[in-house]
Assembly symmetry: D3
Homo-oligomer: 256 residues x 6
């Protein structure tokens, strides 16, 4: 186990990283130390960070969490660029498919600690192998339809997979939401606990996993993600293209 | 928005079509204005109608419903032809795979208003993007096993997808049924309401969707149906062939 | 219907076979007449037995069950060979993928009678078309992680399919279990009954099925297993390879 | 065999249809009786025509050909609409994927009689089950790159399938072409004959096929097209989306 | 290496087996010691034999060959049963898909020694990893269309894979043939040699392979057959069903 | 177009990068300025470099080439680690699948300039969209079987795709090779030129492509790589696992 902190731990402004002696790496989304606001910077850095984590063999288990009382509920749209121009939307295409694809292909087990509402990129946590959610958590997809564009990033594949096709469709189309408790009933999350216990509980599960051979944990994660990795590869390459077309279309709509 | 009613609105004897100013097209199955009896004519017309709807860009959202107190519970077997002869069964093969495949490939969102029991072709409504069912609705598959043939049309794929593999299998094999309320618990339908509110509620959801850009609605539907479209293509080409073989086999069975 | 008992009925020491006049073949796992202990012999014989059953056209429906008060909870690890050597693990690879693949490709409907706890190869019964479980049944996966190896046989595909991806993952990773009642709620099993009624109920369902044309039952089973057959083929060829690598890795770990 | 000519024989202005007593339907592309110029009308009518052919069981084998000394080398771009607007490009998306998908899913065998150069939609003929090409035939893809858009319709899937991935890629990217003789060497076409013999030879092959049971011919075509049908379904839904994005992008490019 | 000959070496009347000291197993098709005539017995025994070979770890490389001056050119149709009855055709379905699937899933490398014309089940040899063909060899598919039924067994998948889609289609549809030399040009076979050298050359290649670690040879074979194994699984389950329908249809045709 | 050279241009010791004013990025493999020797460093850096290239939108077309009179013929095995230990082989697994997957998913067109023999990782160049090879080029796979391990990296998928299944298998199994001229005949490469013209010709093709809209080039590359990207994802995850098992097995073999 290396003693010095790797360079990438402090290289990305929206991600705080901390590693336990057994190699459990807690990755925390934040903005200036508070709840994360999703920006173009977050979008750009996410796939790069996940690749660095993948290559660092001192990471044994990942804990993915947010800051404060919410996982992620705000987005800075303009910082992501002007999606009505296809060449500009292509930047998000390149980064977006890599973000989720790198995450699902990460050979390291992921435990999510969902610390409250998540209305932006809930697929980040719903993709995790074990999901602990606070009883204050509500899941929804806010940005896509609010911006008038179709939800073509990995969210739709993950929702379809973990909620079922018909739940995923009606919730997205009617801009609905679901609670951690409902997610538990539906099998989408593993445990619901009070907010204060979310991170400790997730870290305890992760530490417990480190008692097993590292390769066993890695290949168990790969085995279970085989199919969803492929579905995401197929789904996102189409989804982003259709999403970008709906964005390009906005330029030709009459003013609302 | 064109002012004259398109020709296909009145071209098919088992389908009543009505379109709202915003382009919501309500497609209602019926027989002589009453509850629909599924016949060879319905089977022949269904894929043709769906293609016409697809090409008409004034259709923004589809509402699919039945007439009276049931969606569809009767079938006129003889009108569908003699399935024991493979060349005759092939007519149903050609039309049947096209009906469901055209429906799932329709780029227009579909809201189902399930107005009561459906024991014939429940996949028509369970394929919809948003499903509103009356509290009187019971889903089952009557015709296949009653006729002694295997259920190889799209129903088995849709049931497997929206109920789960094991629920779909045991319900079909034991000729069971499930209520709208159970379907809601299982995530197969979105809402259960009293019968009188089924159509108004479905139409209200559809009208709400028309507030969004039309292309956004279209591509959201396509995104979410990507996988089931492919599964139906694969599943039906095999399913119909096996179903037809079980029909051809009937000619060689000893009299019951 | 042949009157003499086929040779394979008595050829395999861990399987007791009995066939009713209508061709319902009850296949019972056992060890010396008591609850089954899974051994290298069971592993070797299972794919061979399933192939023999497949070729015998007098078998109309299969009932799969265990002996006594549990389906299977014990395993004799050493009898399966030394998995740390890849050439030795390859024996299990060859037999293991054939066992499950032959089972899912069997053209005969399968009714499972789950007579109590199953912590070894629960995929055998969860793959069945109709599953009747005793109220004493608890499902889990004991051997893989207890031996320090990743679960790469068909179990992971079947759990993912019948429990959902996220339930399957967290239950496996946290070495959890689920009851027959939970399995019923989740749609994984069809019925939960008292232990004494498990086998009679399963056999009654099977006998009921024999009232239909045999080919109809066969092709219904094939239709519903089309997708999971393919997923198992893909999943197991990878899963066993990764599982064997985690076993080979054990030879290089420091003593615990 | 019906004696009256069906209505659809004369319903489409760019298609001349003629049927032999044995049911061989010759479908000839033309513009005012001369070589075909591909227009928005051709694009709109093609999927509709193929569906009508599919439903008419008097059609036993299709012969697909062009008029005069070329199969198709001209296209009227403006008649297809303004692809830089996504809502307008969506019309081509709807029709384009249906045209090729309906063709490959047609249960009737197709013999192509390629009567000279084809630089527009060569996938129409390269998809055929048996391809007879004149020695004057040269295959290329003119319209896509000439218009500055990516080739995302079915052509890329068909070229990849019948030429091989690397040949298809470099020919498209370098805007190259290949002769009937090369296509014969590569296995892409079945026979190369002088122009005058192309149609008679194709029709002779088709007539020969009618000596077999009609269902045998139909299911042989389906069997061989199983995989390419699926690949087209997957490939076109993505390809058209990406092609439309490259068209939408044209509006933002600096003038050349 | 066991010294006694296994029982299965002499259990199947159409297969002569011989194993070299290094474990190269030569499997020779024959009928009474002369060129093989394909019968119901051959069909029944083939999948059973392949399974036995698979379980016998003393087999290192397989050489597949025929007897005399032809690989296989004759078939005893009636011995295969009456395919016009679906329940009877189902026997061939069960055995046929297992024969090819077991062959392609065999973890042992296969070298084919094609000793002359093969017009029956050429997929057996074209599936091999390395194919040596005599210069007298001609490949074709005689039985299917001669019997009026569609070619739905594995042959169509293998021909499509090794000849290319368009070559496979036109050769089958026009009942054509191709020589060993053409197959060499097209990449379908590895070497063409005089008849007398076919078996020695194939055995020499096989012996050469045994110089490598056995597991390396096994997993190389599996790696390269991953995709065609899956395509055969998908293709045959459909193909046999459609083939059986064309057979069932024969009962309803007017006498020729 | 940025004027300063990006940092990654000089960050990787085995890769020399040079970009033309139009954005054509020539990526040249080398070792100390001479022909490249493949090492653990090359393996580690390759996926990282490709990701950096992907994110840099100033890159319009990639030219991939080697140094001197060969593309790559040497490998420093020990520098890659001890593959007999699964945890050590896992490092190569992580990097190896990312290297090829990132390359095939790169949204930038790739032109290969194959400057002579390539016996190590020929899939790097055979994956390119347009391949120019010197007439001195010979393709083979040296390292895998020379080390006694199965070829499970992306090479087998790429060879199967561009040479055909049967050519790929027999060439690999018999450790054969093929020339640029043969590759041209088989459609695997686009052009064969004298060595001195390889790079200029490749760069000229690349410069020609920059006359088109950048997004058109990008999406054309994505469209044509859709299927092989998916096949590589599926094939490599299995292939590397099997390759690693053959390496782990080496520790248990008797000394040669």
């Amino acid at each position: 186990m290396s003693t010095n902190e790797p360079e990438y731990f402090s290289a990305y402004e929206n991600f705080a990283l901390e590693r336990s002696p057994s190699g459990v790496l807690t990755v925390r989304f934040h903005t200036d130390g508070g709840p994360a606001v999703f920006t173009g910077t977050t979008h750009r850095d996410f796939p790069r960070l996940i690749e660095e984590i993948a290559y660092d063999r001192d990471n044994t288990v990942i804990v993915l969490t947010g800051t404060g009382d919410r996982f992620m509920t705000e987005i800075d749209g303009p910082s992501l660029g002007d999606f009505t121009k296809p060449m500009s939307a292509d930047v998000a295409y390149v980064e977006g498919r890599r973000g989720i694809q790198h995450l699902v292909n990460l050979e390291i087990p992921i435990v999510a600690a969902v610390n409250g509402p998540v209305s932006v990129h809930s697929e980040y946590v719903l993709l995790a192998d074990v999901i602990v959610a606070s009883d204050t958590t509500v899941f929804s997809d806010f940005p896509h339809l609010a911006s008038g564009i179709a939800p073509g990033d990995g969210l739709f594949v993950v929702w379809e997979e973990v909620l079922g096709l018909n739940r995923a469709r009606h919730l997205e189309i009617t801009q609905g939401s679901f609670t951690a408790r409902e997610a538990l009933d539906w099998g989408a999350v593993a445990e619901v606990v009070p907010l204060a216990q979310v991170l400790p509980r997730a870290q305890a599960i992760a530490e417990g996993m480190t008692q097993r051979p590292q390769l066993t944990n890695r290949y168990m994660a790969m085995i279970f993600r085989q199919r969803i990795s492929r579905r995401l590869a197929e789904g996102m390459v189409l989804g982003f293209a259709l999403e970008s077309l709906t964005a390009a279309n906005l330029a030709y709509l009459p003013p609302a």
